[in-house]
């Protein structure tokens, strides 16, 4: 399988994630979709790293995973906080700030 296929997959994954962010209203799912986007990027990184035969991509990928974990942590924290506040778990309900 040539690198191109991996790249194609990564692009698709990335876009799927984006779509998810745009369409889903449950913050949990939105977070998941963010994960998807990051993973898409990761795949691309690994693929390129393979293509060039150096490890930079992989390193970046690892960092990305860390980052993803952190974001998840924060995100979930917020969700919990929101839940504690008895606010609806729905990003569309959070629109006090506008205009």
């Amino acid at each position: 399988m040539s690198i191109a296929w991996y790249l194609a997959v990564s692009a698709i994954v990335f876009s799927l994630g984006a779509i998810g962010v745009m369409t889903r209203r449950n913050p949990l799912v939105v977070l998941l979709c963010l994960e998807l986007m990051l993973n898409g990027a990761n795949l691309a990184l690994i693929a390129f790293s393979r293509m060039w035969g150096n490890g930079d991509g992989q390193i970046l990928a690892i960092v990305v995973m860390t980052v993803a974990a952190c974001e998840v942590c924060i995100g979930l924290g917020m969700i919990v906080a929101i839940y504690r506040r008895r606010l609806p778990i729905d990003v569309d309900e959070l629109r006090e700030l506008q205009g």
Partner: protein, 524 residues
Amino acid sequence: MTTLLATAHLKGPHIDFAGLSPLIALLGGSVLVLILGLLGSRWIRAQAVPTLSLGVLGAALGLTIWQWNAQKSIVSGALRIDDLALVLNLVLIAGGACTVLLAWRSLAAREAAHGEFHALLLSSIAGMSLLACAQNTVALFVGLELLSIPLYVLCATELRREHSLESGLKYLIVGSVGSATLLYGLAMIYGATGTTDFSGIAQALSSGSLATDPLTLAGVALCVAGLCFKASVAPFHQWTPDVYEGAPTPVTAFMAVTTKVAALGVFLRFFDVALISTQVSWGPAVAALAAITIVVGNVGALSQSSLKRMLAYSSVAQAGYMLAGVVVSTQLGVKATVFYLAVYLFMNMAAFSVIVARERETDRGDSIQGLAGLGRERPLLAWPMTISMLALAGIPATAGFMGKFYLIDAAVSGGYTWLGVVIVIGSMISLGYYLPVIAAMWMREAPASEDEPQALASPGPSPVPVLAGGSTELDEELAPETSSPQPEVLLVAVLAGAATIFFGIVPQPLFNLVHGVGSGFGLF
């Protein structure tokens, strides 16, 4: 850090701790602050922690100055310490210090048990300074995240305020999308060039047809998007007003200033160093974005009733101005941008500190009408606000004028005269919302009785949690704060205002400061 020390002696690269020292100071400091915040008593948390964090910032400042006009790449080319980095560090640290002062008594700090609050603050600053001197994409990305993640938290710290949480979540979601975009862009550039070092990228791009390769260009596009997001450039600005308004005011002040600094710093480095050979293709695009940003920001700020929101839009506009310096990608442009960043710090700090003070004094929060009669009651607050408004509008004898002057100068001599014109048109529009603020302070009398919120168009968010009943002990914990004089806030306001005027009349020192910032680049 322990690991760092551990690995240092085995076959790791030579690490220039001197060069790294400010960063180390910040990171270590944040840990210290964190720990200090944990050991108990209220007094320590409320007073010692901020003091300590100030100390940390002071240390970092000292180290930065110690490093002055060093020119080196450290940690095997991950970072570059040069004038740009150092100057930006200065600005960042100053901004951080102001924030600490503003947050001294703030609700947010208490809510987030001071230690954590300041630790997050410091680490975010660390991320920024990392970003400012990042030299390869990995460091760039890490720095970006180290900047953002604490901010996500900080925005949400006033958990009792729904707005705060909301802003936090929004920031998180949209921000993550932004960084994912950036990441993908980085990935593509890596794919195109096969390296993560800026210098390597520049080298690779400068050779052959790679500069016009779709892969590269798409990567650049995604990077533009991602960074524009951080710098809140239209059309990626949308999170800005909501987050700024929702976040606790000290945090807003912090974000307003420092994220701009970091984002534009990395803009300068990444685009004017790594991607310089694709400038022909991204120059016009970024210029267009800048123009859009200027217009959108200024237009959006009109007829806002909340000061913070208004300032948020205005910061969007300012970002547009500063982009102009990036676009031209000349030494002059770099200098102008950095100069404006420095000036921007003073202007915004003055404004935000006044807002902080007002929020604690009145229940009218940050609404513009809330400022009515301020000139008569609290001239010491009114003057800094006035100065900062005039400066943001770019009136002569204020630093803002100098900044605009320099930017337009750069734009024109870079061949982007039309952008310069857009800048002035933007500041024309901006008069439409800066002047009313001054008018409110000096030309309107305070409404006779405070207890008539319906007299106001929109009472701003109140520091005391109105929803989900703040408990009684919390309230009496708040009670002494609300009416207490705030020497540190006043200090910040007056200092910033004074600096704005001073650098408006005697800008030469600032010019000398930023003189060398472009020297690191291969620009003419």
